[in-house]
């Protein structure tokens, strides 16, 4: 089947999509957007987190046809013309990246948190990231990165 939806601000059409295919498969294998990672395929790990109409979801659990006519924003769509998003910068600076596999999902999920809650408590950060598994870092540096990004974004927002 043919599926048309907006990806990172641009409308795109893909043909030959199998009806049971996930949005994740379409993004990675048909659109050349491998940022969202394919790991568990059951919503357990959060590595494929993308925005669907502005709400974070596991792309592996969205049927491609369900995305038709909607807006998807992947990790590739977070950086602006001026460079990386503050969340991405903070992950690099805080050393929150080891093997990097879980990073795109964590970055999208943290980006959503800071969009809703500018100054999150540690409990709020942990809750927001509860569905994103990382097997390398032990999460401490990821928490550091989110705190750093939150502080930077607040500075940017201050007059």
């Amino acid at each position: 089947m043919r599926v048309t939806f907006v990806v990172n601000g641009a409308e795109q059409t893909v043909d030959g999509v199998w009806e049971g295919e996930s949005l994740l498969y379409v993004l990675r294998e048909r659109m050349g957007l491998p940022g969202s990672k394919n790991a568990c395929e059951q919503g357990e790990c959060g590595s494929c987190t993308v925005y669907l109409d502005g709400v974070p979801a596991c792309a592996c659990l969205v049927a491609a046809g369900q995305a038709a006519g909607r807006e998807v924003r992947t990790v590739e769509g977070l950086a602006g013309p001026g460079g990386l998003d503050p969340v991405q910068e903070a992950f690099v600076e805080a050393g929150a990246v080891q093997c990097g596999f879980c990073t795109p999902g964590l970055v999208v999920q943290a980006h959503d948190l800071l969009g809703r809650v500018p100054d999150p408590s540690d409990a709020e950060i942990r809750e927001a990231l509860a569905g994103n598994l990382c097997r390398c870092t032990g999460y401490e540096k990821i928490l550091d990165a989110v705190r750093l990004a939150a502080a930077r974004k607040r500075e940017e927002a201050a007059p």
């Binding site: 919503g43 049927a63 999920q109």
Partner: protein
Amino acid sequence: MAFLRPATWEDALAARAEHPGALPIQGGTDVMVEINFDARRPAALLDLNPVRELAEWDLADGRLRVGAGVTYTRLIEELGDRLPGLAQASRTVGSPQIRNRGTVGGNLGAASPAGDAHPPLLAGDTVIEVESAARGVRMIPAGAFYTGVKRNALEPDELIRAFWTLPATGPQYFAKIGTRNAMVIAVCSFAIALHPAERRAGTGLGSAAPTPRRAAAAEGFLNAELDWEGRSPLPAPVARRFGELVAEAAAPIDDVRGTAGYRAHALAVLARRALTWAWNDYTGTTGRREAS
């Protein structure tokens, strides 16, 4: 496989009648797992996301009618004050990403004995509104909706439209056993709702029998023993006996998440605690201390 995308409820019912082999999909958090793992190959997927009215809720004659497509995230944010038991259960569903997509309608459709929404639906006397193009609306009490392991009372041409329940008239609590605070399927779970105007308590057990179920004898015991008018403190023996009766209502199995013996024990503890929290709220006792 076909992909059906009705834009209205009417079209959805027509599509359901025309394609009995079509599997309805809402948030996809169960359906897509089965498809990704090749555990299921339905003849068609019936995408209910575009049906706007499923994602709405309203208050009609004092009763809440919540569309089957309202997500757990929205239930927590928009109805947490009116349906505290269901909101507590919703907070334990998966992760933020899962709660952003998952729905009570999906939980009812899947009818897993471990579904987190079921115990509070039972405790709150919820009625499920289902509909078919041929025969119109049927209202099914939650207690009659679950018919077996992952089986429900839905006919092949019916879809789940909404669930109906009263906004809470008394304290409600949900408790669940799992290995961590997120991404956990219940080892067992328990919900209680006090209905003070009727001097009655409702209960719901999850992951403790082939279907979610109420603990009728435990409810009857409470209705007789509790001092609804005097609001006197909960006697410890009453709380303990209530826990035992809840455990007796269960028919648990041994599986990878826990043994039958553990489940029965844990249910008795959860029931005793949840009752204590609820009764303390009702009587105005400070703190959430458990009766020993």
